[in-house]
């Protein structure tokens, strides 16, 4: 229910409406179909969670970089070449043994595009948007994440143009790991804050 649809075939009406809209705007000289292809390519292939993984792995490895991130997230993230639309201003929030952060946009679908790409369906869905501000611990349990009672939960509702990136806790047993290897432990969901980073041995094959 809600807008939790994933693989359903859209009504052909929707497909037709989109075709009409695109061809009208092309005919009126306002868009170029090749521009649309390039935008899709950017977010399918070049701007996605891999960017955020690089930020997190560097934050875990380089204390100077972490302080720059704390001071001005936008600027420090731009050092790695990530900036712009959907993430003009980015604030990093750090998970610790005492604090667990999780991000939502209750009013629409705001999400830090430059570092995470486009949001997954569930992030934009009515269940997530309605529930995570009221019962975050329960929602996190549904993602398999148990937050101990003594840990403070902070929910960030992205109601303005500020975007939030969660720096998950660095997993134990990763001392001396390279940034490249650390990146394999960082997941999209851990940077939204609904899960923790993976532990050594859980990483997917590159």
């Amino acid at each position: 229910m809600g807008h939790n649809h994933k693989h359903d075939e859209p009504p052909s009406d929707t497909v037709l409406r989109v075709k009409t809209l695109e061809s009208l705007l092309v005919e009126k000289g306002l868009i170029d179909p090749k521009t649309l292809d390039a935008i899709v390519d950017r977010y399918e292939n070049r701007v996605g969670p891999q960017n955020g993984k690089a930020v997190v792995a560097k934050a875990w490895s380089d204390p100077d970089y972490l302080s720059r991130l704390r001071e001005d997230g936008t600027k420090a993230i731009a050092e790695l070449g990530f900036s712009g639309a959907g993430g003009e201003e980015i604030v990093v929030v750090e998970n610790t043994n005492k604090v667990h952060n999780v991000v939502v946009c209750t009013l629409c679908s705001c999400y830090p595009w430059p570092v995470l790409g486009l949001p997954p369906v569930w992030y934009k869905s009515a269940p997530y948007r309605s529930r995570v501000v009221r019962e975050p611990r329960k929602v996190l349990e549904e993602f398999g994440t148990h937050i101990p009672k003594e840990t403070e939960v902070r929910v960030w509702d992205s109601t303005a143009e500020m975007r939030y990136l969660v720096i998950p806790r660095r997993p134990e047993g990763t001392e001396g790991w390279s940034e490249e290897d650390l990146q394999k432990l960082v997941t999209r969901d851990s940077m939204i804050g609904v899960t923790e980073a993976k532990r050594p041995g859980e990483e997917e094959a590159a």
Binding site: L21, L107, A126, R134, R137, D157
Partner: protein
């Protein structure tokens, strides 16, 4: 507006269905086109980001709740582009031949400009605007307002007490910008306790941080 888009705290929406991270970015070809059109028209400067959000919110509530997110974007695009005189309802229904636009717009985004435009993004900070009424550490209350137009003050924070924890500086005020005026003012990170928002159903020691503008807040005397 007090619409169904303002979902924070609502009951009855069912469980969250997490997706595997290897799931595709888009789930259908038409979603790609909607997403790309929405971005490609940026430099034409036909509408602001807040006008486009407000256009989506005005989708019929029953449809909003039963639509996927890119269907909501499609509806919003059709609405705002018709309202702005870029296209007509008849053209969208294929009942009329497309007429040339008569409005002047910004320039069309060329394929080789995509990265430059999107790496830059918009800019919402302003040099001048209303003086800050609050500072970090101040206790404030979300105003009990119910504007029929756009607002980024979620209903669950209205009448609730919080604390200013950061001042992000002068920002374009979304509520005004959705209706044609930037009205720059200070944007704050405001921390609300879970129990202040949800009473006995909240969790002691947990907090919700909401970004709110000066006009959304009142001082607690």
């Amino acid at each position: 507006m007090d619409g169904v888009h303002d979902m924070g705290g609502m009951h009855g929406m069912g469980p969250v269905n997490p997706e595997d991270e290897s799931d595709p970015v888009f789930h259908a070809e038409w979603e790609k086109r909607v997403f790309a059109i929405n971005n490609a028209i940026g430099p034409l400067k036909i509408r602001s980001i807040d006008e486009s959000r407000h256009a989506r919110e005005r989708m019929k509530p029953a449809l909003y709740l039963s639509s996927s997110y890119y269907q909501i974007w499609l509806d919003g695009l059709e609405r705002i582009l018709s309202e702005k005189g870029i296209l007509t309802v008849e053209e969208l229904a294929r009942e009329a031949r497309p007429e040339p636009i008569t409005l002047s717009t910004g320039s069309k985004m060329a394929p080789d400009q995509v990265d430059a435009f999107l790496d830059k993004g918009g800019y919402f900070l302003r040099e001048e605007g209303k003086a800050a009424r609050f500072k970090v550490g101040d206790l404030v209350r979300g105003r009990n307002i119910h504007p029929p137009g756009h607002t980024r003050l979620p209903s669950y924070a209205r009448g609730k007490q919080g604390e200013i924890v950061a001042d992000y500086g002068l920002h374009v005020f979304a509520d005004s910008n959705a209706h044609g005026s930037e009205d720059p003012q200070h944007l704050y990170s405001v921390r609300f306790s879970s129990t202040e928002l949800w009473g006995a159903d909240g969790t002691e020691g947990d907090y919700i941080y909401i970004d709110l503008w000066d006009d959304h807040l009142e001082a607690i005397s």
